[in-house]
């Protein structure tokens, strides 16, 4: 029944995982970071389908990263699965606390409120010198169910781990987007009055999308922290959140893989233009985004999606 999806997932995993053999170290790191951030962006895409954009996903990216780091440093947990599980649980709880509040806001109010929450975290972490303040904290290399690789094998393991998570999250979100609940989200963006008068709760729809975004943000942050070996309050800074929104808009909400493609494009553009035009790369990025919005208003995904008429 879901044969095509399963096939696509297997192909995506094999192709991406092949990178662990082919890619040089620097590229593998870049891809791992891009995929981790892509998870955060996938959460934003989920909200965009309901008509709202969070400008504060750095909140969960940072929360996930710090949770993993603090647990690793203070409780001696190094297992990557356990760290991911714990930080996504924390983000789930925080998302469930803020979700109902944010779910009654739309448009610029939703964006600003989510941004404000992330900046509160940024400000607080910057002031907390006992956890590193603005310098942040280091986190040791993770272990994988007792296995403690080093050097290239560690990078490979981490990369394959993020690929696996990306494929699983991608499949789950695709299933959700195609589901009855997913259609309800599209209907909500279109006409909230109609949805309420059919007997469904618009707030409930919005809350779920927010909470899923929180969990994805937390997972992305955990992996990014482990890949970098370091976390700092910049994870929650508005420019970080802005990049996530950039990727989400670049990708559009039509296709899940395009989110990760967009995230990889951003990382590539960033590292190359940093190299060649160190001070103007944001300009290059801005022009690129402008071009996409003009040429492909529904994002990169519209190049591959069968649904032209409406967002899927």
């Amino acid at each position: 029944m879901r044969f095509n999806l399963l096939l696509a997932a297997v192909i995506a995993f094999v192709v991406l995982a092949a990178g662990s053999v082919i890619l040089p170290d620097w590229a593998m790191f870049l891809f791992a970071m891009a995929l981790a951030k892509g998870l955060v962006c996938l959460g934003i895409v989920g909200m965009m389908r309901g008509g709202v954009v969070s400008f504060g996903q750095g909140l969960y990216y940072c929360l996930g990263a710090y949770t993993a780091t603090l647990v690793a440093n203070n409780l001696g947990v190094s297992d990557i699965f356990l760290l991911t599980l714990l930080s996504s649980a924390v983000c789930l709880l925080v998302g469930m606390a803020f979700g109902p509040l944010l779910s009654s806001y739309r448009g610029i109010f939703f964006a600003m409120l989510s941004l404000a929450l992330s900046m509160v975290l940024y400000g607080s972490l910057s002031k907390m010198s006992f956890i590193g303040g603005t310098d942040g904290l280091n986190i040791a290399a993770p272990t994988f169910l007792g296995w403690a690789p080093e050097g290239r094998p560690l990078q490979m393991a981490l990369y394959i781990y993020v690929v696996a998570i990306v494929v699983i999250a991608g499949v789950l979100m695709r299933i959700y987007f195609d589901s009855e609940r997913g259609l309800l989200t599209l209907a909500t963006r279109d006409n909230e009055l109609r949805v309420e008068y059919l007997g469904a709760s618009v707030r409930n729809v919005m809350t779920y999308n927010y909470v899923f975004g929180a969990v994805l943000g937390g997972i992305g942050g955990t992996i990014a922290a482990l890949a970098l070996g370091h976390v700092d309050p910049e994870f929650a800074f508005w420019t970080t959140s802005g990049e996530f929104v950039f990727v989400a808009i670049l990708a559009g909400s039509l296709s899940v893989p395009s989110v990760f493609v967009a995230a990889i494009i951003l990382e590539l553009v960033r590292s190359f233009s940093n190299l060649y035009f160190p001070n103007t790369w944001q300009l290059a990025l801005g022009i690129f985004l402008l071009a996409v919005i003009v040429v492909l208003p529904k994002g990169l995904g519209s190049l591959v999606s069968r649904r032209k008429g409406s967002p899927a």
């Binding site: 589901s179 009855e180 599209l186 209907a187 963006r189 006409n191 008068y197 059919l198 007997g199």
Partner: protein, 250 residues
């Protein structure tokens, strides 16, 4: 007369200086077809909005199924079985006709919309198609809402409102925005569907031919009050109604 399905007592509603509802009391028996008439701004939509939860009355009771639903949220009232259509059809413009129907179907499915089940699953599509066929709009199923004619939009709006267990259907001007020659065919379709489902109907209408033909009883609104509540013939020959509502002797 059947037992009452809806009992409205002394509803009041003001918007600033405007009195949109004043001492509104009505008893609607199960299975009846009521129409609401009145000039622009008389308070018809306000009445529908209060019964369906969009507007909370300042005071008064709305008894439905042994409970007072005044002030409940629209979705709770919908869940209890009072469904509505809108003066301006409320549809999802970026979805196809079929998908609009699937949304309605998913919300009313058991045990509620699923995170896993495909929205376009075969059974749901079959049910959606059956409903669209019943309203003679199946041929438009793959079209987007902005491409539809006024009549098709109205029918889709009503078809969506029919999803789930409907006990009372409130139709706010089902034939407004519909071409003149489509009005009667559309009313025939809608009333057949509603009657065969045993639904109590309350519809707002400006066209007196439609009022006479389809309703058993008429409520005439003027200035937020009900000035007549009787069979169509009686109401339309009432001098006060002729003066304030129909504007001419019937």
């Amino acid at each position: 007369m059947n037992k009452a399905v809806l009992e409205v007592r002394d509803l009041q509603k003001t918007f600033g200086a405007v009195t949109a509802a004043q001492d509104i009391s009505v008893t609607v028996p199960e299975g009846a077809v009521y129409s609401l008439i009145g000039s622009n701004g008389a308070g018809k939509t306000t009445f529908v909005n209060m019964v369906t939860g969009y507007i909370k009355p300042d005071s008064g009771l709305i008894n439905f199924g042994n409970r007072n639903i005044a002030g409940m949220a629209p979705r709770q009232i919908t869940r209890l079985g009072i469904h509505r259509s809108f003066q301006i059809a409320q549809l999802c413009a970026e979805l196809t006709v079929e998908e609009n129907m699937l949304v309605a179907d998913a919300i009313h499915g058991h045990p509620g919309p699923s995170f896993l089940r495909r929205a376009h699953n075969a059974e749901a599509r079959e049910r959606a198609l059956a409903t669209l066929e019943r309203f003679h709009i199946a041929e438009h199923r793959d079209r987007l809402v902005p491409e539809l004619s006024g009549g098709v939009k109205k029918l889709l709006d009503i078809a969506m409102a029919m999803a789930g267990e409907t006990q009372i259907m409130m139709l706010d001007e089902p034939t407004s925005g519909v071409a003149a020659d489509e009005k009667f065919p559309i009313m025939d379709l809608v009333m057949d569907a509603l009657r065969s489902a045993g639904v109590t109907v309350i519809f707002v209408e400006h066209d007196m031919d439609i009022v006479t033909r389809y309703s058993e009883r008429v409520l005439a609104f003027y200035d937020g009050r009900i000035i007549a509540d009787d069979a169509p013939g009686e109401v339309l020959s009432d001098p006060e109604v002729q003066r304030y509502v129909t504007g001419a002797p019937a």
